[in-house]
Subunit: 238 residues, 2 copies
Amino acid sequence: MRISELSAATGVAVPTLKFYRREGLLHAGESTSPNQARYDESHVARVRLVRAMVEIAGLSTASAQSVIAALDDEGMPLNSLFGVAQRAVTMPTALAHPESAAADGDGAADAAPAEAPGARIIAELCARRGWHVHGSNPGLAMAARVLDAYAQLGRDDLLATLDAYADAADTVARADLAAVSGAGGVTDMTDVVVIGTVLGDALLAGLRRIAQESESQRRFSAPPASAARASTDPEESC
Amino acid sequence: MRISELSAATGVAVPTLKFYRREGLLHAGESTSPNQARYDESHVARVRLVRAMVEIAGLSTASAQSVIAALDDEGMPLNSLFGVAQRAVTMPTALAHPESAAADGDGAADAAPAEAPGARIIAELCARRGWHVHGSNPGLAMAARVLDAYAQLGRDDLLATLDAYADAADTVARADLAAVSGAGGVTDMTDVVVIGTVLGDALLAGLRRIAQESESQRRFSAPPASAARASTDPEESC
């Protein structure tokens, strides 16, 4: 198909497709003339994947490039691909680059061990659960920084939620890996790793918001006004 | 304490504190002269909260303002505060503003019901689990868009993970609400709602990355090189 047909098949405008091509997010088509190329179903699938990464998971172009490069590297073991996909998912800047937060203001004192127990608590959690990961796993620093923030905010009581969060992480990880194992060939497996990892955070964050509101309604009585509205306006509720 | 002492107590530079003041993120101190004010422990706590929201959870100034305004509104019911905190957490732009994604290119066809089954699947999930939420809950659109992306990418097999993700969301929501109920007074409860909601996504995403790598190691044999390195270099692993 021509680029205009690739655009129609994917719902992505031609200038955007040309941008994807320039940025290495879309592989070359077969040249049919000096300024024309022919595209196939592999291009349709790739455009949809790039679009999901950029528009739904919110990845930067650079992060999407790193995932695409890993996908196209046939020699990359599945574990490494997981790592690339995990790192690519958008994180708050301070989590992705802990050193940038430390450079803010004169906050060096915040890095003192006594005020930053997060790393130790996470290491103990890993030992308790039999989790074995390399020290470069980006989740270690993400989780530790949240626990450090709980401590600095004087909310050590939130540590009581840690094991429930770890249970939830285990539940999701087992489902993720079962999906990878269940996928057909190697190409399908790498697809599932990337799509599941990149979009899974957003799915989990969405479901958490639904479950949280539902549980909050159950525990605390809703204010009369909204309860009345919910009962007379059922199509507005889930 | 003076502003220089507030800076020392929180590790936040004076110009940043003045910025927080101007943006309404920090309440006024007690005026002691035309250009001096006295701050107390309530200001220390507030600065730490703002810093955690902006630097760790990655909230924009506008989002942090909406949370602070809700915290300071003593008449706001706890359920509404949950909603404000949920909406404030940074989301990929396309998730927060679904209409902006539809405006991209000529992608109107992607909005056709046959290609967008996500909302229906989430409504069925809510019914199955007894989840009751208002239609304005931001999680509904977030989760539905991810499922729509699975369908468009031809990866309906990932739908098999949905119930496990919902189990995980329930586990976390129950822990979140137990922490809220366990907090002392109303001020503590609103603190826990805001801190737990805003930072909990990052904690969950971090633990998911750890559990995923660990589960991947368990299912798929690690490449020999990294396995050997892990065994001889134990301090690098968790």
